[in-house]
Every structure is written in structure tokens, then in C-alpha cells.
Amino acid sequence: MSEHPENSVVDVKDVQKHFAASSRQEAEVRALQHVSFSLRSGEFYVLLGASGSGKTTLLRCVAGLEKPDGGEITIDGKTVFSSSRHVFVPPEARPLAMVFQSYALWPHMSVFNNIAFPLRYGTHRLRGVDLKRRVQEVVELMGLTEQIQRPVTRLSGGQQQRVALARALALEPHVLLMDEPLSNLDAKLRAMLRIELKQLTQRIGITTLYVTHDQIEAMVLGDRMAVMDQGQIIQQGSPWDLYKRPNSVFVAQFLGDMNLLEGILESSDDAFGRVRTESGVIKVIPFGNVKQGPVHVGIRLEDIAFVSGPGENVMTGRVVDRHFLGEAFLYHIQVGNTVFRIRKTETREVLEPGQESWFYFPPERCMAFDSEKSRDTR
């Protein structure tokens, strides 16, 4: 079922978790349904999903803060949870550290003590000089030297975030878990820390499991990522693969905006398929074993090109309107009865509203999905 690489650090197999209904009217919540994935050593793995998709529950199961109802979790080759063998290792005995959304810094302690407290009283204890040296190391790594004696409540949001990360790294965990650690920061700071975080984890080579609802964050940070919905992993792979070769309209739309049109897949070979739409026949890539019959064809806003004449996958349309977005133009183009959205960053060739033109739908960018699977789109 799941890949089983030899060097996997975290191995999650067939994990399930239910939450009891909070009232009689509500149904039981199936937070995780048979989820499997694994983390390779040194990898940055992102769980991406909307709220309620089960991504945080999955992370908390790995941490040991939640106990799954079924399945098996292995960290560093050691089973930390197994429903069949009745194994449950509590969070404090798992070789990991975690950064929380709220940072969860202990407000009555200074920066130094927030970092030193787990080292003093945790599972792997350090004393005296060793302890000081370890704290010093992470404080320097995170650029917090000046703030070391300050109460954490007096720090800015970005600094608090760094303390939370420093506290986790000081434990020298085998796995670092992060639960939306950047979501409390403003957009600019978030974008900056995102890059910093990526560089840092690459430099120290730590295995990281990261939860976010922000698809840009997921794609920037992840070596690999999983898109989750309703307690299931819908697709996992590299950000590039997921963006360019999504297995469903759900994944495709979660990672970025796209145009959709309905049609009938008439024939397909290994490379391309042909879809009959109301605006004509277009050549597409059929993803995820699409069968002949009704399909959705998706194409991203930036993938439709302006061309000067007819050809394969070229349709004529009329510019309905044009909006200036700063770094790009957004066009609404009427092709037959369908209105397409096109985003163009090059501003040399500008079409005017009302203008008729040719539009090229590159076959390798046109993705066909089963209509069945596409139903629960957002």
C-alpha cells in the first residue's frame, strides 16, 4: 500500500481516528480514515488541507498528543503506536519536538528558561555547562542572543516564533513537528520566515513534518507534500508533481486557480486524449486513469496563450473585460458559451475588451479528470 523506503524516519500505516459526537444530533466525526505515509530522513514533508481536513489530528497522532483508534506509527524504527499490539508511547518518550501554532511559550519564564526547562526536566537531561552550551547554540542559531534574558511576553511575534523553534531544536529531536507555526504572523513576516525556515532545516538536515492550510507555504517549504480532505490523503508527491499533475479537481483547485470545462473523453492513448467540448475537440493529458465518458478539463489561468492564428487546441474567443492586478492582467474571455479566466504577466501584448482573438490551450497543460471524482470540489 504505502511505500516503505529503508531510510524512513516516520512511518504511519493505516491510521484511523474518530471523535465522539459532541451532541446527539451530530454524527461521530471520522477525523482520520486509513491514512498512510512516511517521512524519509532529512525530508521536509508538508500536510496541506483546509480546516477540518484532519491534518492537525494526524500531526498530533504522530506526536502522541492524540491516540489513534487503529493503525501503526513507527518513529526511527521503533513502534510508538500499534492498535493490534496495544502499544502507545506517550509524547514525552518519543524522540521528537514540536512547534505549536500559538507557540505555547511558557509566559512566566525568560527566553533562556523556556529553552532550558525541557533540557533540565525532560527525558534527556543536561546539567550545568552542557545545558548552557546547548541553549547558547540554539539561541545563536536563531539570532536571539540579545533577547536571551528577556521575558517571552515582551518579544515580538516573530521573535516568539523563533524562541519556539529554538526550544524545539535544543532537544535535538529526530523529528521536528510544526503545526501552522507561521499563521499568527503578518503576511510580510510570514513570507520572510518561510524562506528562513527552509534554509535552516536544510542546513541542519532535520526531518520535519509540517502542517499548514496555506498552499503557497506548502509548495515553498515541502520536499514532498500531501493534500488532505475529510480525513484522507488525496494525493502526495513533490509540490511540482502535485501542481502540474494533480489527480483530481480537488487537488488541482486547492493548489491554484484553474478554468474548468465539461466534455466527453472520446479516445485516449498513453500520452494524450481527445475531449469533445461544446467549443470543439481539444487534446488533453488524462490524469489518474480517466475512463472514456464525461470528464472535466482543467487548465490553469497562466497556461492559456495568445496566438496569432488557428491550429491544434486553438479556439477563437472575445475579450469580455480586462483587470489590472499589478504584476499581471486578468482577462475574461468568452469562448462559445464558456467564460475563461486568463492571467498574463507579460504586458507587451495587451488585448482590448471587445477584441476577437485566438487562444491556445497547450495539450500538456490541459488536464482531464473523471467527472465522478470531481463532484466534491470546493
Binding site: E92, M98, F100, F117, H124, R167
Partner: protein
């Protein structure tokens, strides 16, 4: 715990927490279980068990039964009426008008808490008793009357003083609702040409109505079990209510044997009645929440502008309250404590002023102070330790059955103070041969703490709920044990709530007359019981002098609290 078997018993801290939780439950259950056992047992103490309903029958058939039911209901309803007659105008003046110097009103209301109710009662006995009450002497001196004009020993005076005593907690209970009502609702009425009075009666009061109703029910329960005024003022003239009848049956029996069984049966009636009222109360607050008119806007609202005359009247009203509840009783105590016997102010009396009473009770003071201070320190310490542990287990763990713990602690509210004391008295007597706690102050400590755990648990639970769950999870994933997390993270963060609870419970403890009066032994006298005894024996000067000393002790406690708070949290 169910959280996947985070080990419990291997951690000494968790073991300690468990012991305190069990102690809290035992103390709570003692009050109910012993009460039921005693009420149904014909035998003596816990030595023999002969089930019977005779105690219940005897209580109901007693000639006093319906008189007590009537007196208690009348006094409860009257008390609530008097209380609302003060508290609603105060809340309205404070939140909805431009009355200048409103802060002083809150200062008056707060300072009242420092004066134990039985001292206020004592003050009014000195002022208004028919034989030598100072007001009666003054009035008859002026108008040459035959009999005394005032007689404090009557149900109306009990009602008036109880009602006035409950104004402070009632005010703070209804205040948030009065503050939350949007001023625009009143301004809309004014703008439509509706008068201030009509707006108050037809807009504001109906909006605050549900909250006023739930306050009325809540304080009716309190009034039914109040002992201080009924005991000090009612008992001497045999005006008996629920709480004083229990006292009579046990401590001051007309025949020489204490009637524990009947007292317990009466106690069960009380518990049942209050449980019923509590259900009604819970229904009323749910309804009040549904009616909530919080608009989100939190402007400093004072829609109603008072005329200079209205301002004067308002301040006169507040002044009368302050005089009745604080200045008059305290002045009575001071004045009487400085004289050899109760006298109206006169030149002759002024000449006799001395510290003689203080000198004469001086030798009695050391054991009284020692016992009082022991209670004042031990009770809140024990109650806060238990409540901290129960609150933590209830709010921060996934222990199965924690809902049961919470329910048991909350249900203890239905046991009136005097009934709880009765259970502990009986327990103390029963186990006397094996555990001689009955003759020590520690039985009192346990009995008072048992009542205070409910309040402590609720307050500290509130503080712990504020604590973000991730604070503790951060400990867990950092390899820190649950016990260490409790000690080093949870406790320091909720420390302000623990401090506050400790001081508040210490204050409640020194104000407590009900429990000590039931459990007092010759060697466990505290200031409250000594004041009671001196007053009953007609030694008003001694009672007053001890009253002044008790007020000084409270003063020290409050000053200390201010000092600690300022030093630590400002």
C-alpha cells in the same frame, strides 16, 4: 489517564494530586452521606443501625414545623426584596447615569465585605434592643415615651438587615448585565419623547429582568440558609427559622439531649428544597443567557443625565446605605467597647471612656487569636490545595469520571452551611474514640474547608480554562512529565488566581460564625464564637471589644493582600 496511559502512579506529583482530589471528594461526601445516615438511624451514633423514618415524622409533626416554614419563607422573600430595593438602584446609578463620584459607591460596597455579618447584627442589638438599646434610650430621653420605640428582636428587622447585607454580592452579580445593555436602546426611547422614568421601567428593567430573576433565586437560597442575623437577633426571642431550628435541636436543646436525628431530617428537607431551587436557578440563568442583549459595543455608557436634585437624592440614598451597613454598626462596637456597659452618648458616658474592656479580656485573647488565626490560615490553604488539584483534574486531564467529581463538588452547594457543620459534628463524635479530632480545631478546619472547596474549584477552574492547551502539550512533546508540567508550568501561570482565592477564602473563614458555633468546644473557641457567647451572656462591652479586634485582624489581612498584589502583579 485515558490519554493513552500517561503513567500516573509512578509520578509522585500526580499521586499527591490524586490524594487531594480524594480528600476533597471525601469532605464533600461526608456532608451528604452522614446526613442521610443520621436522619434514618434510630440507633446511637454509628454504633448501631436501626433504620427508621421517625425523625422525619417527628420534625413534620412538631408544633414548630409550619411556623418555621412560614418564618423561613417570609424571611427569604423579604430579604430578597430588600436586597433588590438597594441593589437595582445602585446598579442603575452606577452604569446608566452620570452620577459624579460613582466609584465611591463601589468602595462602600466593597468595604462592607470586610465586616462579618454577625458584627453588624451585634451593632444593631446594641443600638436597637428594647431594654437598653442606645437609640431607644435617646428617643425616650427626648420624647418621654413609655416603652421602647424600636425592637430589633423581630422578623422585620432580621429581614431588613439580611437584605441589606446581601446588596454587595447582588450588585456585582447584576452589574455586567447593566453594563452590557446598549445605551442606544435608552436613547432611542428618549428621542421618541419617552420620559426617563418610563424608559427605566419599560426598557431597562425588562431587559435586565431575566438576570434580576436569577439573582433573586440565587440569593433566596442564600437567605434561607443564613444564620448570623437569625441566630443573633431571632433566637433570643424564639423567632425560629430553618437554620436556627437546626442549631436549637443540636446545640441548645430544650431537653438536655441533642436531637441529631431530627436535625438531620430537617437538614434533608433543607437540601431537597435548595436542590429544587437550584434547578430553578439553573433554568433561569439559561433563560437569562438567551435574553442577553450584549451588542458588542462597549462604550462608556451613561445615557441618563441626572438633575442636581436627583444627584443629591442619589447620594443621600447611597449615604444611608453606607451608614446602615458600615458606619453605624462599627461605631456602635467602638463606642460600646470603650464603656463598661451600654450607654447612650452623654457627658457622663464620655467621662467613663476607657480601654478597660480590652484589658479585662486580654487574658482570654491568646487562645482565641491562636484558634482564629489557625482557621484563617489552615482553611484557605487546605481548600486552595484541594481546589487546585480538582480544578486541574477537571479542566486539564482526560480522567474518566471527572464529570462525576465536578458534579459532586458543585452539588455540595445544596447543603446549607449549618447542615454541613451538623454532619461534621456527628462524624467527629462518631470517630472520637479512634480519632480524637472532635476536641481539636481541625474538625472545624475540615468542616469549613469542605464548604469552601466548591467556590475554590469554580474560581480556579475558570483560571485554568484560560490556559492554552498547547502550553501543556509543549511540555509533553519536550519530554516533560505531567507532574512536572503541573508544578512548573500550570501552577506558576495560575498563581494569581490561587493567591486571590486564598485571601478571599481566608476572609470568608474569619467571617464564618455558622460552622464554628456548631462545632465549638471549650478549647476551640474562636473570636466569632466568643463574641456570640459574650453577647448571649449580656457582656456587650467584651463582645464589642472582641468585635473591634476581629475587624483589626480583617484589616491586617486585607492590607496584606493589597501589599502582595501590588508587589507581585503590578
Amino acid at each position: 489517564m485515558s490519554n493513552g496511559g500517561r503513567r500516573t502512579l509512578s509520578d509522585p506529583v500526580l499521586l499527591g494530586v490524586g490524594l487531594f482530589v480524594i480528600l476533597g471528594l471525601v469532605l464533600t461526601l461526608v456532608m451528604v452521606v452522614i446526613l442521610i445516615l443520621v436522619s434514618l438511624n434510630k440507633g446511637l451514633l454509628l454504633e448501631s443501625w436501626v433504620p427508621t423514618f421517625a425523625h422525619f415524622r417527628k420534625v413534620v409533626q412538631d408544633a414548630k414545623f409550619w411556623i418555621v416554614v412560614k418564618n423561613t419563607s417570609v424571611s427569604g422573600l423579604g430579604t430578597v426584596a430588600v436586597m433588590l430595593a438597594w441593589a437595582i438602584p445602585f446598579a442603575w446609578l452606577y452604569t446608566r447615569t452620570d452620577l459624579p463620584g460613582k466609584k465611591i459607591l463601589v468602595a462602600f460596597l466593597t468595604i462592607r465585605v470586610a465586616v462579618p455579618s454577625f458584627l453588624v447584627a451585634l451593632g444593631y442589638i446594641l443600638l436597637l434592643n428594647p431594654s437598653n438599646g442606645i437609640a431607644n434610650i435617646l428617643v425616650s430621653r427626648m420624647f418621654d415615651l413609655d416603652g421602647p420605640l424600636f425592637n430589633v428582636y423581630s422578623l422585620p428587622w432580621i429581614i431588613f438587615l439580611q437584605g441589606t447585607a446581601l446588596v454587595t454580592p447582588c450588585f456585582f452579580m447584576i452589574l455586567p448585565t447593566f453594563q452590557a445593555i446598549d445605551a442606544a436602546l435608552e436613547e432611542a426611547a428618549f428621542a421618541s419623547g419617552v420620559s426617563k422614568r418610563m424608559t427605566l421601567m419599560r426598557v431597562l428593567l425588562p431587559l435586565a429582568g431575566p438576570v434580576i430573576l436569577s439573582a433573586a433565586i440565587y440569593f433566596f437560597i442564600i437567605a434561607v440558609e443564613m444564620f448570623d442575623y437569625a441566630g443573633m437577633i431571632g433566637l433570643p426571642r424564639r423567632i425560629i427559622v430553618f437554620s436556627t431550628w437546626i442549631y436549637q435541636l443540636v446545640v441548645n436543646p430544650t431537653m438536655d439531649v441533642p436531637h441529631y436525628g431530627e436535625a438531620a431530617a430537617l437538614g434533608i428537607f433543607g437540601v431537597a428544597f435548595i436542590s429544587l431551587l437550584t434547578v430553578f436557578y439553573l433554568w433561569s440563568i439559561r433563560r437569562a443567557e438567551r435574553y442577553a442583549v450584549v451588542t458588542g459595543k462597549r462604550l462608556q455608557q451613561s445615557a441618563t443625565r441626572l438633575s442636581p436634585r436627583a444627584k443629591g437624592l442619589a447620594w443621600a440614598f447611597i449615604g444611608v446605605y453606607a451608614a446602615i451597613e458600615f458606619f453605624i454598626p462599627v461605631a456602635m462596637l467602638l463606642w460600646t467597647s470603650l464603656l463598661p456597659y451600654v450607654q447612650a452618648p452623654s457627658l457622663g458616658a464620655l467621662k467613663q471612656i476607657s480601654l478597660l474592656s480590652y484589658q479585662e479580656i486580654w487574658p482570654e485573647l491568646p487562645p482565641l487569636l491562636w484558634n482564629t488565626i489557625t482557621l484563617m490560615v489552615a482553611v484557605p490553604t487546605l481548600a486552595v490545595m484541594i481546589s487546585t488539584c480538582t480544578a486541574w483534574v477537571i479542566t486539564r486531564t482526560r480522567l474518566p469520571g471527572k464529570g462525576g467529581i465536578e458534579f459532586a463538588l458543585m452539588a455540595a452547594v445544596a447543603v446549607p452551611a449549618i447542615v454541613g457543620a451538623l454532619s461534621f459534628l456527628y462524624l467527629g463524635l462518631s470517630v472520637y474514640k479512634t480519632v480524637p479530632i472532635y476536641t481539636t480545631i481541625w474538625l472545624m478546619v475540615l468542616a469549613i474547608a469542605a464548604r469552601e472547596v466548591t467556590w475554590g474549584n469554580r474560581t480556579i477552574s475558570g483560571a485554568m480554562l484560560q490556559l492554552h492547551r498547547e502550553m501543556e502539550e509543549a511540555c509533553a512533546v519536550s519530554g516533560i512529565s505531567q507532574g512536572r508540567t503541573f508544578l512548573s508550568v500550570v501552577l506558576p501561570i495560575v498563581a494569581p488566581a490561587l493567591f486571590f482565592s486564598w485571601f478571599w477564602l481566608a476572609l470568608l473563614t474569619v467571617r464564618n460564625l455558622t460552622v464554628p458555633i456548631m462545632l465549638v468546644r471549650p478549647n476551640t473557641e474562636v473570636l466569632a464564637t466568643a463574641i456570640w457567647a459574650f453577647n448571649a451572656a449580656g457582656k456587650s462591652s467584651y463582645a464589642s471589644a472582641l468585635g473591634v479586634i476581629l475587624l483589626l485582624l480583617v484589616g491586617v489581612l486585607v492590607t496584606l493582600f493589597q501589599f502582595v498584589v501590588r508587589k507581585k502583579y503590578v
